[in-house]
Amino acid sequence: MIHFRHVTKFYQPDTYALKGVSLHIQPGEFISIIGQSGSGKTTLIKLLIAEEKLTSGGLVIGGWDISKIHHREVPILRRQIGVIFQDYKLLPQKTVFENIAFALEACGASNNKIGKIVPQILKVVNLLDKRDKYPRQLSGGEQQRVGIARALIHRPKILVADEPTGNLDIANTREIVELLRKLNELGTTVLLVTHEKDVVNMLKKRVVVLDRGQIVSDQPVGRYVL
């Protein structure tokens, strides 16, 4: 499904965020990526959605060579990958409902469909009563849940979560992890980036450890080993 081949990412002027990373992710897999701050986890995701170009190496997603993707085709790729961003990336001028709806609108879904699906997902992330609030009126955890809802709304084939539980309490974290697990059981490939030991240990899935831009460990049923 996702194939990183000797991927290197160099940031001007002097940072190698990734150095020769090779990683193969099967369809339907649930993979956790852990690593210290600055080890290149977010960079890996940026390459995945073509937010950044690789410096060298190859990246193939579902048979599609992303390293040579045309600017015009980038939206097509992104509509099939749901991303929960570390810094939420909500639209400040839009309400909770509109933020989530936007991902569907960008795909061209009908208003009818949007009116039906968005309240459902709002219920899932427990934000029905905040649907008409703007992001600035929400707590960090609430904003994070809006981001989660937006990433899930169009049922992407691949779900990428960059520290999705960074701002959530234990109860909410547990529920989000359960949600990710459930989606994975329904066939979604999940790539989870996290700092949290408990989360990784709870999952009992494949764990990849990044250190200064290189993979130092890749275990099928990993435990948190930093």
């Binding site: 937010e51 939206p75 509509r79 001028q93 936007f102 960008a106 061209g108 879904a109």
Partner: protein
Amino acid sequence: MALQLYNLPTTHYNLQSTTYSFMNHSFLRVLKFAFQDFYRNFWLSLATITVLVLALLSVNILISLNAISSNIVASVKDKVDVSVFFKKEASAAAINNFQEKMKLMPEVKAAIFIAKDQALDSFKLKHEDDPAIMEALKEVGANPLLDTLVIKARNTEDYAKILAILSLEESQKIIKYQNYTDHQKIIDNVNSISNRVEKVSLILTAVFSLIALLIVFNAVRVMIYTHREEIAVMRLVGASNSFIRAPFLVEACLYSVFALILATAILYGLTIMAGPYLNSFLETYNFSLANYFNQNFVKIFLSELAAVALLNIVSSGIAVGKYLKV
């Protein structure tokens, strides 16, 4: 959180199957986004519109000045004519013949014959209240005035040619004198002034338009700059360039329309307020600015709308494009 309620339809939205529905919904969606952005950023919208209004007003004031100056020049030129006074012994047929000949010249706009009796009547009427002149007239007895032909050229430059005809020996047989020489200086002055006015207003128009253009371009860029992060986020969640861009272009049109309506209202307000002062100055030239704008309303405002909308659309298109690279 109720997991069992997460009950989405099982079909995946992928692009191949949704391109057509994108077409169906996008137009209303784009309109909705444009209006939303307009009123959610009300003060910024207002600031942008204000800049547009000021640009439009300065262009319109320039148009007014152009209209006033060209009207003054035209009416001064219109006042210029040549009066040809015929000798007493010239026959009616010869005079008539001469008038026809002048009328046939392409340079001549009008050649109006004033018989001496007619001239006397109007002279008497004009000086009715002046006993000294009336007394003098009575003393003279016979009509002291001459048959006259008033010739108007299409262009002030054409008087030279007309004068050449008048000074031909053949013409001079029936002509006593013509008063053209008195006008020569005035005509030269008017011509050089009108040339200068034309040049100055051309330069002014170019400079003003350039300034207005740069100011509008910059205002639009600032407006879009405040949206740069949103534009990037939209890209990141899979919106296509055209879907992101379209609402901004619609908004640009909205700004243009509002700005034009406001500028027009202010312009009419100003013309009405300045009317009395302008009129006392322009009366002699038989010119009203309000009338001028009324007569040219469609032409002026449609072209201004087209220019402003085009400028706005191009500016925001360029400005948005800069942030679409994500």
